[in-house]
Every structure is written in C-alpha cells, then in structure tokens.
Amino acid sequence: MIVAEPKPIKEILEMVRDYKKILVVGCKGCVTVCNVGGAKEVGILASTLRIAARKDNREIEVGEHTLERQCDPEYVDELKDIIDKYDAVISIACGVGPQFLSERYPEKRIFPGVNTKFMGGAVEHGIWAERCAGCGTCVIHYFGGLCPIARCSKSLMNGPCGGSAGGKCEVSKDIDCVWDMIVKKLMKEGRLDDLLKFRPPKDWTTARDGGPRRLVREELVK
C-alpha cells in the first residue's frame, strides 16, 4: 500500500486559515488501511478543525466525505454535487488524491492533509516499512525475494557496503541490512551462487529517472 502520515495540525490550520467552509475528503484505499485517511480519520480531522474554531471563537463549517478511491476519476466525480458548498477542500488521500481533485475541480482550493511517505506494508500493528521503490523493472527474484533498491540505504545491487554490521545498516539501528538478509536467505536455500551469475546493468529507464511515468494498457483503453 501507499503509506502516509498526518500533516501537523498547525500546518493544516495555516493552510485553511482564510476559509470558513471546508470539506475534508478521505479515501477508502491505502490510506484507510494505514489509518491515516479513511472515514475515521476524516471524522478526527473535521472534529479537530471544529475544536480549533471553537477555541478561537470562529464560525466554520466542516463537511466530511470519504470516496471509494481518490485515484479514479469516476469516484472523484462523486463530489460534484457537494463540493460547491465549500470554499476549500482538504484531501487526506496520498499525494495522488489531491492532484486528481485539483484536476477535476480546478476552481477549488485543494490542500493535502497528509504527507505521503512510501510504498510498503505493516510490519507490526502501527509500524510500517518501505518495501518497493517503484523502479519499474522488478528484480527481487534475483535477491531471495528481497528488494535491495528499496531496502538498502544505498540501493546497492552487488552486495553489502562496509556499513553493514550485526545485520544492521549504519544509517540506523532500526534498519535491517537487506544485503545481510539476502545473503543469509540464499545461504539457507543453498543458492548463494546465484549472486555470482552475470547480469547486465539494471535498466533504470523505467524508473523515476526517466521523468514522470505513464502506463498504457491497450486492452483496457476505451
């Protein structure tokens, strides 16, 4: 999933300081799963904005709505009958959501309510970790199913650096050295020699380096 975290309340309040009718829009996709942008969090942010207004003795109206997904135009369309009632919109979807809202409703001020962090998963309840860098050409099968691009601090593809100690990365004791994991896993499987096979340099043209990416699936295009 795409993992995000809430923006500081102060930053959000500063964004919408000049608006009296604010719509908070959530998303039932990834951000619901990582407890940052679903219907529950829409309620929490809306309530927080109302409490802030109460404290400052200001009158505001805060609406709440959660879309099935903010990254699909057909669901974004759902706002067309309610968005006109509001001066500003806070999207608490990942960074994709507020952009889709901005494109669909160009006359509205759309603000991001979360900071999008990475593609990853929950390693424990309440703890998420990065797993994919979206490089566009997956190679994890060469590395025991572990991604050295997303999980090595240097994205090294030819083995660990000198900063690997005790299974940890020198960047932080909270980061496992993925190369330590890769080597141990392949040793356990008796496939360590797989790492000695010659492979041509990775094709990075599919990664972000080639500029904003676009994917066309002809069989799905209407």
Binding site: P8, K10, L13, G43, S47, T48, I51, K55
Partner: protein
C-alpha cells in the same frame, strides 16, 4: 448553574470497574459534581480518538476516561489502549494550543468508590482553574 457547574466534563466510564466504583460511592452517599456527565461503556478500549474529541467540539471543557486497573481489564487491554489514545488526543490538543490536561485517563478497581468521586472532583477543580475552552 454556578461557575463550577458551567464547566462541562464528560466521563467515559467502564461498566465493569469504574461503574461498580460509582455504585459503591452512591452507597457511601458520595455524589459526583453536577457538571460531570457519565457515559458508561462496556470497555474503555472502545473509546476511539473521535469519541474523545467530540465532547470538546460540542461544548465540553474536559474529558476523562475511568477504566480498570491495567492488570485486571476484563477485555485484557481496554484501558491500556484507551490511555494510548488519550495521549494522542493530548498531543492534538497541544497542537491546537489547548491545555492537554483537559483530558485524562484513570485506572481504578471496582471497590474504590471514594476515589471515583475524588477523581471527578479533582477534574472539576482542574478544569475550573483552566476556564472554558
């Protein structure tokens, strides 16, 4: 309504421990301050962050959770979860420039009726000193 009673406080109370304590306090002829409104819940672990924020949104000046002792929760970890959420709400209040002490969580056993009333009185005094939100 006097000044003290005008400070509305919402008390979410576990129906096992805290509410039993309330029953004992009643038998002791100890009464809660009038400004404290008790909402009984089957377990304080069900009290979400939004439940804790809503009273502030709707005019309350203080909120507290009264639940079991951490080692004797009937649902294992209800009050522990509630206390974590209270800490989160304190952070939200702080970010808004509101005193985080306006929300608290307490653990008490079913037998401590006097303490149940004292918590309500202490919260009332504290919120009164802070004034309205």
């Amino acid at each position: 309504m006097n000044d003290q009673n005008s400070r509305k406080i919402i008390a979410f109370c576990c129906s096992n421990c805290a509410s039993s304590a309330a029953g004992i306090s009643h038998k002791l002829n100890e009464t809660l301050p009038e400004n404290v409104e008790v909402i009984q819940v089957p377990c304080t672990g069900r009290i979400e962050v939004l439940h804790m924020l809503k009273p502030f949104e709707n005019g309350a000046d203080g909120v507290y959770i009264a639940g079991c002792q951490e080692d004797s929760c009937q649902y294992i970890s209800g009050i522990t979860k509630a206390k974590k959420r209270v800490q989160h709400v304190k952070k939200i209040l702080s970010e808004l420039g509101i005193e985080p002490e306006r929300i608290e969580a307490f653990s008490l056993s079913a037998a401590r009726g006097q303490e149940f009333v004292q918590i309500a009185r202490d919260m009332t005094d504290k919120i009164k000193a802070m004034g309205t939100l």
